[in-house]
Structure formats: structure tokens, C-alpha cells
């Protein structure tokens, strides 16, 4: 389309201005603040220049590395479980049966619910004294005493470091498995039918079919689903904030929660900005990898 050469920029201006103010200015702030000591509530003129001290502190801060480790532990379990369950369910429910569209609608719900609400629901259900989970675990344990050894008894879910981690993993799996399910299901339905039919005729059984034909053809989609979950693990903190606040101790304090608490509880904005920078770099690297795997612009236009 032939136009004045300034016209495209006029169409882009509102979006670019909002992106610049809303995403680039905060990133610029993170870089700038990371060189200062500045506390929440202080006047800007009260800041103190530190040079690279915040970065030295970041690298040597056991609290940060503990939270990175916690993020990895949390991320390993949620991503593994969500991928296994999500892919398994998609393969199981791929074939259209009656009620399938209803279950897909139901499955959308956890994705739409506010993280704060997810956190409070699970905190309530896992309450040690009056929570439903403990009540039914206790009932099952009393009915079948053998199962008590397997943990079918009331537990202090959110007050024990290991069980608190189990609790936040469970809530995340509940909320995000549908996401993997939907992506994989859409991928399965997009597989070319003739290849599937040809392998049926070649005598491939159900298991070979999945393992040697469907999953390899979906490799890219599976990788993208995996990567998007990993990215969200690094972004998420609201559910954990509501359920455990990072505790007990520091057992569930993931990196993004550590970032938030450094600013909101310790009021240490300069150092928080340094942690924010670390988190941003991690997420930008992941975004670039995601872009290499799946560039939404590439197949549609010459970028």
C-alpha cells in the first residue's frame, strides 16, 4: 500500500508509546536503580550511589541463590507433572466423545480465575484444623489404617517446609495443567490425518503410534508448551504469596517472591531493582528462545 512515509509511524505511535512507558521505562529504572541505595518512601534526592555494590551483593547473597534453588525445585515438579498429566490427558481425550466439549469448557476455568483466589481457595482447603483435605485424609486413614503410613492422616500442610512446597505444587498443577492440555490437544488435532492413517495401515499399535509418530511430530509444540510453563514459573508469585508468603522460613520463597519482598517488606528499592534486572534478563533470554522456536510473524510475513 502506498502511503506517506510518516503514516505507518502514526499508526504505531499509541502502542509504542504505551509499551515504552509501561515496559521500557521500568526496565530502564531497573538498570538505573541498581546502581543506587534508595529506600521506599525516601525522596529521590536521598539516594546514594553505590557503583556495582548491588551486583556484588546479588552474586554473594545466599538468600537470592536459595530462592533461585527454590524456584528450580518448584519449577521442576510443576513443569514435569503438568507436562506428563497434560500430554496424557490430551492423548486420552483426543478422540471426540460425547461430553468432550463440556469438559474442555470446565477445564478452561482454572486458567481464568484470579491467582489471588486460587491461593485463598487452596489455603482454605489445606487448613490444618478445619480444611477439607485434612478431614478426608483423616477419614480415609481411619477407614483403612494401612494407608496411614502412606500419609493418609491430617497434615500441617502450610507449616512444614516440604509439605508447603507440595501444597504450592498441587495448586499450580491444578491451575496450569489445562494450559498444557489445550496446547497439546490443539497440536494433536492439527496433525496431518494421512500420516496417521498410513501408520495405522502399516500396523502400528496404539502405543507405537503415540511414541513413534504423534509425539515426535509434535516435538516443537511440546517444547513450546514446556518453555511457556518454565517462563510462567519464573513470573508467578501471587498464589505462593497468598498460600505461604514464602514460608515457613524461606522454604517456598521463589525468586519473584524474593524480589517482591525485598521491595515491599525490606523497602530496599535499589537492591530490589538489581534482582528485578536478574529476573528480567532470565525472562528475556527465554523469550528469545521462544521466538526462535515459534515466531508468530515469520510464517505470515517477511520479517
Amino acid at each position: 500500500m502506498r502511503t506517506n512515509r510518516f503514516v505507518p509511524y502514526l499508526f504505531l505511535l499509541p502502542a509504542v508509546a504505551i509499551l515504552a512507558l509501561g515496559l521500557l521505562v521500568p526496565l530502564y529504572n531497573a538498570v538505573m536503580l541498581s546502581f543506587y541505595d534508595w529506600s521506599f518512601g525516601q525522596a529521590w534526592s536521598a539516594r546514594r550511589f553505590l557503583g556495582f555494590d548491588n551486583f556484588v551483593r546479588l552474586v554473594t547473597d545466599p538468600g537470592v541463590w536459595a530462592s533461585v534453588r527454590t524456584t528450580f525445585v518448584f519449577g521442576f515438579w510443576v513443569v514435569t507433572l503438568e507436562m506428563l498429566i497434560g500430554v496424557g490427558l490430551a492423548l486420552l481425550l483426543e478422540k471426540a466423545v460425547r461430553g468432550a466439549s463440556f469438559i474442555r469448557t470446565v477445564f478452561v476455568m482454572p486458567l481464568m480465575i484470579a491467582p489471588v483466589v486460587v491461593g485463598l481457595i487452596w489455603r482454605y482447603m489445606l487448613d490444618a484444623r478445619s480444611g477439607v483435605v485434612n478431614y478426608y485424609l483423616g477419614q480415609i486413614g481411619e477407614a483403612i489404617p494401612f494407608l496411614q503410613n502412606l500419609g493418609f492422616a491430617p497434615q500441617v500442610w502450610l507449616a512444614d517446609p516440604t509439605l508447603a512446597m507440595v501444597s504450592i505444587v498441587v495448586s499450580d498443577v491444578w491451575q496450569w495443567t489445562p494450559f498444557v492440555f489445550m496446547i497439546v490437544l490443539a497440536g494433536l488435532q492439527g496433525l496431518p490425518g494421512d500420516v496417521i492413517e498410513a501408520s495405522y495401515i502399516d500396523g502400528a499399535n496404539w502405543w507405537r503410534m503415540i511414541w513413534h509418530i504423534k509425539l515426535p511430530m509434535m516435538r516443537n509444540i511440546l517444547l513450546i508448551a514446556l518453555l511457556m510453563r518454565v517462563i510462567d514459573v519464573f513470573r508467578a508469585l501471587e498464589v505462593i504469596f497468598i498460600m505461604t508468603g514464602g514460608g515457613p522460613g524461606r522454604s517456598t520463597r521463589v525468586l519473584s517472591l524474593h524480589l517482591f519482598q525485598t521491595a515491599y517488606t525490606s523497602l530496599d528499592l535499589g537492591y530490589a531493582a538489581t534482582i528485578a534486572l536478574l529476573l528480567s534478563v532470565i525472562l528475556i533470554v527465554f523469550s528469545v528462545v521462544l521466538l526462535v522456536l515459534s515466531n508468530p510473524l515469520k510464517e505470515k510475513a517477511d520479517f
Binding site: 499508526f11 526496565l27 485463598l120 487452596w122 489445550m182 528475556i284 523469550s287
Partner: protein, 308 residues
């Protein structure tokens, strides 16, 4: 075709137990229960009295009471915060659709220097989390009084809805961040939709004497209902549900509902009844969206991975 293949593979001579069928239905029932039970627990709890909530034995049959809902409306500022949430949610959705639509039009239909750079930059910074935005702007927000830049008296809530501002700087700020967080996704989603519209339509309109703005608003936008729906759902979802930015940037007049809900968790104990009532009300709009637009939501979720 599928029928004959099934026949060939499973050998139709012997009648076999349809394990596939059974396991599918069993899985669907278990899934529906697991997915819905927590939401139902919240709803049921919101209708209970404090004594019933504290009881060690969960009751599924009880006399429902609306006292928790009454309390959040009459004793707390639920209504002003609902209005604040709605203004922010709908405002950022409207701004996102308009600006993303314009940007997607330019990227899809025009050639100009910097096109690739702008497109790729948006995609690289799209995963920056709200927590990063919150901690890097909050200091300036407070120190420079940015939240008070828009005079509140211009937009004071009508009497009877509680004292508060209908729109002030903190709400504009939140709209800015929610729009920015959603623009990358919306731009490239709408970009894909515009690419599917035949360019001849636009050329015909231009021959008829329309300018580019008219082409965009009269020709393109009316054809993009589906794209706008997906984009609107995802923008509203973020703006309505987001907690960290809202917690840090709003003041006592402009809180959003997630921030309001969280305040019932106190050091001296959690007011579960009121908390669950607010939680139930928060999830109603997303639930309605789920019922009416599950297809669009699934499309949006899988767009990122599958259409690529």
C-alpha cells in the same frame, strides 16, 4: 473412513470390552470433579456462618446465608472497589484493542524502516512480569506523587456509592501497565487476523476515496470481531485478576477487588466467610466469559504454540 480403520485395527470379530471408551469417560468425570470441587468449596463457604466455617467437619448440606455478602457491601467498601476494578478492566481492554489494532494494521499492511525492529522488540519484552514493573516504578510513584497527577475532584463517585474517586492517577497508571503487558500478545494476534483479510477490500475502499483511518475503522475493524474477542478476553483477564501491581500502586480509594480480598487475611486470623464471598464475586465475570467464549479462550491459549 475412521470407522473402517477402527474395524481393521481392532479386528471386529470378537466383542471386546471398550476400555478406551471407559477410561475416557472415567477420566472426564474425575477431571471435572477435581477442577470444579475447589471452586465449589469457595462458593459453599461464602454461604456459611463463621461457626460452620470453623467446624472441623465440612458440611455439604447447610442453611445458606447471605450474611457474608451483606457484610462486604455494608461494612466494607466493596462497591467502590468493584467500580474501580471495572473501570480499570474495561478501560485497559478498550485501550488495548484500539492501539493494538492500529499497530497491527501498520505492521501487517505497510513497509517502513524499523518495522522488524519494533515487531521483534515487542516479542522479546513480552514476558516481563508485573512484579518487575511494580518494584521498579513504585519508588518514583510515591516520591513524585504520580498517583495524584489527575485531580480526583473531576471524577468523584456519586453520593451513595461511598466516598472515592471514579478515576485517578493510580487507576490510569494501572491501565497503562495492564495495556502494556497485553499489547505484544494482542498486536501479533490481530496481526494474524488482518493478514487473513483480502487486501483487495482495502484497495477498493481507497479507490472509492477513503483515507487510511477510514479503511481501518470502516473496513478492517468490522471484520475483526473474532480477533478482538480473543484479545479482549485475555486483556480483561489480566487487568481484572492482577494483584501485585494493584497492591503497590492503588490507594485506599482505588483498590481493585483482588487487593480488597487479600485484606481479609489478617494477622489475628482470616475472615474466611467474607474472603470467600469476595472471591466468589471476583470469579463471576471470568466464569461467564468461560461459558460464553470457551472456544475463543482455547484458541487464544493455543495460538501462542500451534499457529506460531
Amino acid at each position: 473412513m475412521a470407522g473402517t480403520l477402527d474395524h481393521a485395527v481392532h479386528g471386529g470379530h470378537r466383542r471386546r470390552v471398550p476400555w478406551g471408551e471407559i477410561s475416557r469417560y472415567a477420566a472426564m468425570i474425575v477431571l471435572a470433579l477435581i477442577t470444579l470441587a475447589p471452586i465449589f468449596v469457595m462458593f459453599a463457604t461464602s454461604l456459611k456462618t463463621p461457626v460452620e466455617i470453623q467446624s472441623r467437619i465440612p458440611r455439604w448440606i447447610f442453611m445458606p446465608t447471605l450474611s457474608n455478602y451483606e457484610a462486604i457491601v455494608t461494612q466494607y467498601r466493596f462497591v467502590p472497589y468493584l467500580i474501580s476494578s471495572a473501570v480499570i478492566g474495561l478501560g485497559s481492554t478498550a485501550i488495548t484493542l484500539l492501539t493494538a489494532g492500529m499497530a497491527a494494521f501498520a505492521l501487517a499492511r505497510m513497509r517502513f524502516p524499523g518495522r522488524g525492529l519494533i515487531a521483534h522488540t515487542t516479542l522479546v519484552i513480552r514476558m516481563i512480569p508485573p512484579a518487575v514493573l511494580a518494584v521498579t516504578v513504585i519508588g518514583f510513584w510515591i516520591a513524585w506523587g504520580i498517583g495524584d497527577l489527575v485531580p480526583g475532584w473531576l471524577y468523584t463517585l456519586p453520593q451513595g456509592l461511598g466516598r472515592g474517586k471514579l478515576l485517578d492517577g493510580s487507576q490510569l497508571g494501572l491501565m497503562l501497565f495492564y495495556t502494556a503487558l497485553n499489547l505484544p500478545f494482542s498486536i501479533w494476534l490481530l496481526f494474524g487476523f488482518i493478514r487473513q483479510i483480502p487486501v483487495e477490500l482495502e484497495e477498493a475502499a481507497i479507490v472509492d476515496g477513503a483515507n487510511l483511518l477510514q479503511v481501518l475503522f470502516r473496513v478492517i475493524f468490522p471484520l475483526m470481531g473474532a480477533g478482538f474477542a480473543v484479545s479482549a478476553i485475555f486483556t480483561f483477564r489480566i487487568a481484572w485478576n492482577e494483584f501485585i501491581l494493584a497492591l503497590m500502586l492503588t490507594n485506599r480509594f482505588t483498590k481493585t477487588l483482588p487487593v480488597f480480598a487479600q485484606e481479609f487475611m489478617r494477622d489475628e486470623g482470616v475472615l474466611w466467610g467474607q474472603l470467600m464471598a469476595v472471591g466468589t464475586l471476583i470469579v463471576i465475570p471470568p466464569m461467564l466469559l468461560t461459558f460464553f467464549a470457551a472456544k475463543q479462550i482455547i484458541q487464544g491459549v493455543s495460538a501462542g504454540a500451534v499457529k506460531g
